[in-house]
Symmetry: C3
Subunit: 500 residues, 3 copies
């Protein structure tokens, strides 16, 4: 068995094929014990008392109660909250402080759900005890992916190689399909078939990625065509809560051809999966299908409990407990998001920096954005000298000010308004330091929540710059950065999210 | 002791007098242990770990915390939610799916509260583990009735025969008075006296039913008149939240004569009961009465804990646990709500079915309702042929369409608009099947919540047709069904709600 | 060790210096066990099962989860609610009934938070089991004060004498600074230094009180000046939720000079404390300070758990449990808020009482308030005779009515409109009883919540009349009470809040 001691569980992509197989193997052991009446087997029981923090900043029943249930079967306990009301989050408490509080209160592990992408990687960075991602925005929900894998494993002769699966419902707005297909992509000879309305279909980037990993991906016209070639059919709920400008009625219309009713499954020997809940108004699975032998989603829910039991056992089974230091890791303070540039030209007096001897100049800003930054920084009221200016005959602008050393929050608010600004620090009328300030461009990324004070961090994923938190790929905008500079920056980045 | 192993607790009317006496006897044992300092007596302790799902879709403190407390004293645990926010119910999850999830997560029993009448019978039908009704709409709250019985039992020399009780407050809008008086009606020589404002008085159907069971029921003018002839006085809170078009001020006015204050109890040796909470604005019990020796409602609350302890112990004391099958019982799919009619006349071409060779005709509809049904079925947009028509010189209408085999949801939505429609299935221009579609007429019945997909089911309660779920009596409307047809239908129904 | 068996924890001012030292000593033991890996030491474990009611009528994470965590480490359990939604409090249930319910459900202790000042003293008065104040309005939060004391104790060589501390942030709208400084005032040679914007500064009454107890209190201009003379700096969050007519933006402006950032702590060897949560929008502590060695607030959070563990252990460690009587203590019914006055003059016929033979006369009312009282009592609709009248050439009025013996609620509603009314009871046309009705003048005091039926009670705090519940000092208004009468009243009061 791979060593999972005190392991964070943030993204399904952090799991190697061996780890997935190991966990599924242990999940099967849990299931076998269940079936033989040994649910509370003494072998799988924590040797010391264990307490889980169950912090669901967004509401949850299934994941929350399932994780709690797993703790209970292992002889552990849990406490926490579901929904942000009634918590200090409404008093502007940061994730960092919430996590430190959980550590201070001697929780042995934390499961958390949060609306922002990447919030759970940040929580794990902060926490001195292991953190499990119970869902971060539309980003990841790794225990869902793992339980889906366990379900496939159980019903596919304890292996994944050669597996065929169909996807339906909403392949675009949720995290389930992405996570599961990425987990499967580790294995050999995987076939994915899908049929869905365009708006709900599989995103091209995912499709491309899977195919680059030798997964066979086929889009088909009808649900029956998909069914005809697969052993599993994975249906998902249209995530209406994440769609803008689309009504539930429109979604019902989109789903008309793609609902799973008896006529769609008739004659096929498939196992129908669904992460639940089914939306009973859309009824993406017709109620008559619930009574059909294809229905496998309730056992899937039980596998969820068993998988979480296996996972928590492996993470927390050891003796002793982590003592709380009360201190933050200094690595949490600094990002690696400053692409340093060579200072070729001094800013000329009379042109850029006028009478600024000490201060800051932001350039390479989109036209007209300089004033907005100055407003956001509140330079006028604070009594600073500043000049926002458009550069003639370009669509660029710059902002110069005698504010020295803007704060990280100020740089973030600038980068939100003007992506990839070049920041020049001026001393004695000369630029002494110059860099491009990189901030993840995913609007929902936790690094863009200014008050949370998450340092933007990136890593080098085989040549692609990715945000450490939401893991979206990063591309420079509005910048003429030399290839050498960029290459050198990419090489300076860590090769993966681990270690911090 | 009666065997309560894995018993569902849905309605107080499901309990026989022997069962009530048995439970009260065990409740008394629990109380005696409490008084002798043996709250955690090892004899009344689950032999295997037991976990209760505490699913309060409507908020609760007393019932929820009291049931949790009982589990704790028996060495069991609990988990769940209170209030629907923060749960998947807000994502349109059905009761069926919620219950199956609870089963999948290995809860040994479920207590649930839900706003719809009959929801808990449905939950019990679905569940593979025992279900306790923690309150369904205004329907039932059986553990409240049982704890009331225990209180009477304890203070009436461990018996019910010959008991005299007064009722006050709101006898009409709550479930307490109905359940308790029905439970008492099993026993001999019961006298009920009551006084209340007309709007809040005892419903005639209940009064009639009790008298048919030899309960002496007397309405009196004043609270003091009631007090003068009873050993117990059971006061209830006006259920303002269930009253339409009546303000709290109006209720306060109605209660003026009927509030229990010191002048009302002065000189009487009664025990004053109340299910709690008392509404402190209405103050149906004056605060000075709290200090009087008649006050017995706080002990009643403790008996609630002890009764629940006795009940849960009996339901869950056995060894082993129920393994989750993951499958729904096929009996959940089909209702017995189709009153089949002889096909005497074929629908004539040119008159009813025009050019419909294959399709459906709904008739015996109230005038002008046919169009509404067509709209609800969205026939126009879906491209079906249809004709809604009023039948001249009658107040009836019919709807014919080439839609074949409408779904259960479609039939329900039709029956909500037009009670007791006759449904004709047409094949080759002829009616091949004809039945009246029966749907419970209680607006708040769970079977009328279309998305929940509860199959309408009825039973034959000594000649009265009753809804399996909300248990309201059923009477046909707008139909000329022959006595023979009706009698044969009634005889085809099960004689009680058990078995499924 | 002082005996804390079944002790209520309502106000930090109830703790003697010895008690504080004892608790901190035990807190240190808990910490030493934690550090040596004996978190679940068998010595500090309840010998019988213990269950805590965790009733947070206002939301909480830190206090709630921390108290629960302490119960868990002691081998106890907890249950309850957070936030009033989903509880009977929304059905107008009183605190009294909520507490009695908790007693009936066999909770061994109750922690409660409530929006009204003094609500927890009332809860403790009612409860048969110990009650811990988890925060009542802006009044008290004694376990916060105790954990702050433990933190100081741990970092100040296990003593308080000679301690120097700085206060910052909001010294005016919260309860933290007041409670902590009062606790410190028991000890010798304490120095408090503070700097804050006027609106957020230390209230003069507190400053005076501390100085009367020989605490050295100094206001300084800047945070750095404060820092330069202290070993601890206690920062607090501006309590924007308790400020009227002040926006968060205005508060941010006020805090500009007083935020703790690196420049403020640079060069000082202080320990920075904060009760948490920090408001990340105001950022009263800059995020860079989190990484500085001065940061001590996360350990402070852990000391919170350890202090609560010590406290709960001492309160509940004994054998056995409290049996529920079901009865209210008769002392809860009567207040000592009626300042009796000598009946010098009979009310003259034809002048005050006209044709009232039996009834009530309220006088010494502010001009024009008599009519409002009559309206509040609904005298007209209820058919009583009444005369509200202004007394010519004064700014006073009186109300006479043939209503006999107004209820406590009626007297309260009168006293809310007209502070300190004189109440005359009239019999046979003569005043037979005459008193001033005293009601605490703190608008947020629980005694003024009419429906809660809390009897106004006062005590004699070394000559000062104080409300038993919110403990605010009381001063008569609009009354010419003789010194003798007043002195005799004060002497009749209990000398402290204990006993009831």
């Amino acid at each position: 068995m791979v060593n999972f001691k005190n392991r964070d569980v943030i993204s399904i992509t952090d799991f190697s094929p061996e780890e997935i197989l190991d966990l599924c193997g242990l999940g099967k052991v849990m299931y076998d014990l269940e079936k033989s009446g040994r649910r509370y087997n003494s072998e799988y029981k924590f040797t010391v008392k264990r307490k889980l923090a169950s912090f669901f900043c967004e509401s949850s029943t299934r994941t929350r109660l399932g994780t709690n249930a797993a703790m209970y079967e292992l002889n552990g306990v849990f406490d926490g909250f579901s929904g942000a009301e009634g918590t200090s989050l409404t008093k502007n408490e940061t994730i960092r402080d919430t996590i430190m509080m959980a550590n201070a209160l001697h929780y042995d592990a934390i499961i958390m759900r949060h609306s922002k992408d990447g919030a759970l990687q940040w929580a794990a960075d902060v926490s001195q005890t292991p953190v499990i991602n119970g869902g971060d925005g539309i980003n990841e929900h790794p225990t869902q992916a793992l339980l889906d894998m366990l379900t496939l494993y159980m019903y596919n002769n304890n292996k994944f190689d050669g597996l065929t699966i169909g996807f339906g419902g909403d392949l675009s707005h949720g995290r389930t399909i992405r996570s599961l297909s990425l987990a499967l992509s580790h294995f050999d000879d995987i076939t994915i078939r899908w049929a869905a309305e365009d708006f709900l279909g599989m995103p091209k980037d995912l499709s491309d990625l899977l195919q680059s990993r030798s997964v066979k991906v086929e889009r088909l016209e009808t649900v029956r065509e998909v069914m005809s070639g697969v052993k599993f059919y994975y249906m998902t709920r249209p995530q209406t809560e994440r769609m803008k400008d689309v009504s539930q009625e429109q979604v019902i219309e989109m789903m008309k051809k793609y609902r799973v009713d008896l006529s769609q499954v008739d004659g096929f020997d498939v196992r129908l999966m669904h992460p639940l809940p089914v939306n009973s108004k859309i009824a993406e699975i017709d109620y008559r299908v619930y009574f059909s032998p294809v229905q496998s989603f309730f056992k899937q829910a039980e596998f969820g409990l068993l998988l979480r039991k296996a996972l928590l056992y492996e993470i927390l089974k050891h003796d002793g407990y982590i003592q709380f230091s009360g201190k933050l890791d200094p690595k949490l303070e600094f990002g690696n998001n400053k692409l340093k540039r060579e200072i070729k030209t001094r800013i000329k007096e009379g042109m850029f920096i006028d009478n600024i001897l000490y201060g800051t100049c932001l350039d390479h800003l989109p036209s007209a954005s300089a004033q907005g930054i100055a407003d956001g920084w509140n330079l006028k009221d604070r009594g600073y000298f500043f000049v926002p200016a458009n550069i003639p005959k370009t669509n660029k602008s710059f902002l110069k000010t005698d504010l020295i050393d803007p704060t990280e929050r100020e740089l973030k608010s600038a980068a939100i308004k003007a992506p990839d600004p070049t920041v020049n620090y001026i001393k004695d009328g000369k630029v002494i330091s110059k860099f491009v300030y990189l901030l993840c461009k995913n609007d929902n990324c936790i690094t863009r929540a200014v008050n949370e004070d998450v340092p933007p961090k990136f890593y080098n994923d085989d040549g692609t710059i990715r945000c450490r938190y939401c893991r979206r790929p990063y591309t420079l905008k509005n910048q003429k950065v030399s290839e050498t500079e960029l290459k050198s920056f990419v090489q300076s980045l860590p090769k993966s999210v681990n270690p911090l």
